[in-house]
């Protein structure tokens, strides 16, 4: 695999070349209120790659919080459906500077929505998106990617991968999709030097050292459901307030709700919006019966789904260890300690 250098001072050239190709560059930066978000950027200076990842999940660019599925008009001749998608879907996008955890999340979302019945609107978003990954040098104290088996410098899933150093990036074009925009970079690419290969390892080592903990979960992979009836869940469900913060900010949470809106007697539309398994209304039957009536069951469902059900169905954790759930929880529930409790319960 060819590795090149690209200097940070040349990045603005690349950005304007990408603009010329009609691509929007989305990366993490500060908004006008000084909040760290993913947003469309015009210059390299607007990016804030040295910060930790924003709380906002990257899935919102592939699976928008609300999307109209179709609108309808009832006429005398019959009903006419117009499938609709936000204009953003067909816009070519580059997600620039995603950490390995978020790259894996996109890979997971893609895999999940393909399944037996591919989700056409979402694959449309994914088709038009190029993912530029970056080796993670600044983890947060909530991060646990190595626990989930993801290295902070893993490039799998990315179309283009960057390794940051002081004044340049090492750049690799990994997929056909990534190579399709190589022309925008071409003018600024410089040959790499002999010992450039060490950078990745160096970053990996320093990032792993600053992670607070690594839990060995390989031993419990596929067996998490044995902890289903253990008493430790109560410890967390007592404290949980059943808001949807963790699910809405999770990059791999995929649930949505489908609803209709009637605008007039003949017109209306159907939309889908993010939904969360921590809400009581999520499973409520029309009869009033609720299969997961208590907070405990709903909290357990979320954890079980992430660490067991997807392992059973797709042979992969649906957690990338990005730590957003830990950072967002208003009552300080820590997913890592739940994992540790599961492990302990299985060892008993």
């Amino acid at each position: 695999m060819d590795t090149n250098r690209i200097y940070k001072k040349d990045m603005n050239q690349v950005f304007s070349a990408l603009k010329k190709l009609g691509m929007a560059v989305i990366g993490q930066g500060f908004d006008e209120k000084q909040r760290l978000v993913f947003k469309e950027v015009n210059s390299f200076q607007e990016l804030a790659l040295q910060e930790i990842t924003p709380l906002q999940p990257v899935k919102s660019f592939l699976f928008p919080p609300t999307e109209t599925m179709f609108s309808y008009q009832k006429t005398e001749k019959g009903t006419r459906l117009t499938p609709e998608q936000e204009a953003g879907a067909s816009k070519k996008k580059i997600l620039f500077g995603l950490r390995p955890c978020d790259v894996h999340a996109i890979e997971y979302i893609q895999k999940f929505y393909n399944g037996n019945f591919p989700d056409q609107p979402i694959s449309h978003y994914i088709e038009n998106t190029i993912v530029v990954g970056i080796a993670c040098a600044t983890p947060s104290n909530a991060c646990f990617c190595t626990t989930m088996g993801i290295s902070p410098v893993s490039s799998s899933g990315a179309d283009i991968f960057l390794t940051p150093t002081d004044d340049f990036f090492l750049i690799e074009f990994l997929t056909e999709k990534g190579k399709s925009i190589q022309s925008a970079f071409a003018a600024s690419l410089k040959a790499s030097e002999a010992n450039d290969g060490n950078w990745k390892q160096k970053i990996e080592q320093s990032t792993i050292n600053s992670l607070l903990e690594k839990i060995n979960v390989e031993a419990i992979k596929g067996k998490v459901n044995q902890a289903y009836d253990k008493p430790f869940w109560k410890k967390y469900s007592d404290v949980c307030i059943a808001c949807g913060g963790c699910t809405f900010d999770c990059p791999t949470c995929t649930c949505f709700d489908v609803r209709d809106v009637m605008e007039s007697k003949s017109d209306g539309y159907r939309y889908r919006a993010w939904d969360s398994c921590s809400f009581a209304s999520f499973t409520l039957h029309a009869s009033g019966h609720n299969p997961r009536n208590t907070k405990l069951e709903r909290l357990r469902q979320r954890i079980m789904h992430k660490y067991h059900y997807t392992v059973a169905n797709m042979q992969t954790w649906s957690c990338t260890g990005c730590g957003r759930c830990i950072r967002v929880c208003p009552v300080g529930i820590n997913t890592r300690s739940i994992l540790k409790d599961i492990k302990e319960a299985l060892h008993e």
Binding site: K33, R35, I52, L55, Q56, P65, T66, P139, S140, N141, A142, S210, L212, K235, D238, V239, I241, A242, C243, G244, G245, T247, F248, D249, D257, R259, V261, M262, Y271, A273, W274, D275, S276, F279, A280, S281, L284, A286, I326, R327, V328, C329, P330, V331, G332, I333, N334, R336, S337
Partner: protein
């Protein structure tokens, strides 16, 4: 100035002295993530030693009370012991407001108020220390911490306390007779410095204000965190916004600006008479929306209308739900 380890010690000591089997204590302990506290539900006397109190105890524990009381009634076998809740003076107002809203009863509730000279959110502590937190300790008004990059930092907390800590109306002991107060000096002193409260509803023109609020609210993802941490939102699973069965609902689930406005309008209107300006909604918001623009308006409004802040006395009556003939309108 408060010595937090002494307060922690005194609280543990007091709780041990009143604890009976069957009691349930709500308090704080450290979570597994440095810089984040988590509520602790204690059912055995040994667990009392896990209690830790420090300026990071931002959560308002009263939010659990209404839920526990509801479960208690629904389960059919009420708790044998009493409920004990440890609160800061500002959160005590929420407990009192719940009592006057008849969400909880005074009979088997013991409120333990601990002295506090200001709380700091995890976010502003991170900013203070200039990085991700590896460990942190509190002494006097200072935080001594180590960042993830192994840098040791000492920072002054005073300027970074939550906004409510500089309002003596919120941060004072409530008007209720039977509660315990834990302090080094047995006397509560307001430690903050009164800040000028300017509301954007006053300083900006109506249109600019609307513009500004639209900008802020457009970030909302409707995760319901502000609703669920709110002690004044005690409808839990019966919230009007969760009524999926209505053919034409009051609010749809769309995350578009009109529905976001509707969400916050409903929430504002419903908590209006009960809001004690504890500021939990702002702290819990994952999107960093400054919800104080609303609750500070409410706080002033209630004072203007009724002469007292909500939650200052447990003899207040529900304002929006009850009306007796001949009563003054406001």
């Amino acid at each position: 100035m408060i010595n937090w380890s002494k307060i922690t010690e005194a609280t543990r000591h007091y709780l041990k002295s009143i604890f009976q089997p069957g009691d349930v204590i709500l308090s704080y302990t450290e979570s597994n993530t440095p810089g984040i506290m988590t509520p602790l539900v204690i059912r055995e006397a040994e667990a009392i030693d896990k209690i830790i109190l420090n300026p990071l105890c931002t959560q308002n524990l009263s939010v659990y009370l209404s839920e526990f009381f509801q479960q208690d009634i629904q389960s059919g076998n009420p708790a044998t012991g009493k409920w004990v809740v440890t609160v800061k003076p500002c959160d005590a107002r929420s407990v009192i407001q719940m009592i006057s809203d008849e969400q909880i009863t005074k009979d088997n509730l013991e409120m333990v108020v601990f002295d506090c000279d200001g709380t700091v959110t995890t976010k502003s502590l991170k900013n203070l220390l200039g990085g991700e937190i590896r460990s942190v300790k509190f002494e006097d008004h200072q935080a001594k911490g180590e960042t993830l990059a192994n840098k040791e930092v000492t920072a002054d907390l005073v300027g970074s306390y939550q906004a409510k800590c500089s309002d003596s109306a919120i941060c004072s002991l409530p008007d209720m007779h039977d509660y315990s107060f834990i302090s080094e000096s047995n006397r509560f002193v307001f430690h903050g410095s009164e800040k000028e409260n300017t509301l954007i509803q006053d300083t900006l023109s109506r249109e600019d204000c609307f513009q500004r609020i639209s900008e802020e609210l457009s970030k909302c993802i409707r995760c319901n965190a502000c609703r669920n941490v709110c002690p004044a939102c005690f409808c839990s699973d019966r919230c009007v916004m969760d009524k999926p069965k209505l053919a034409i609902p009051y609010i749809t689930k769309e995350i578009t600006l009109d529905q976001i406005f509707q969400y916050h309008l409903i929430r504002f209107y419903h908590v209006a008479p009960n809001c004690t300006a504890c500021g939990e909604c702002e702290r819990a918001c994952p999107q960093g929306i400054p919800l104080s623009i609303f609750y500070r308006y409410l706080h002033r409004l209630n004072k203007q209308l009724f002469g007292t802040e909500s939650g200052s006395s447990d003899s207040d009556k529900q304002k929006l739900l009850s009306y007796r003939f001949g009563e003054d309108l406001v």
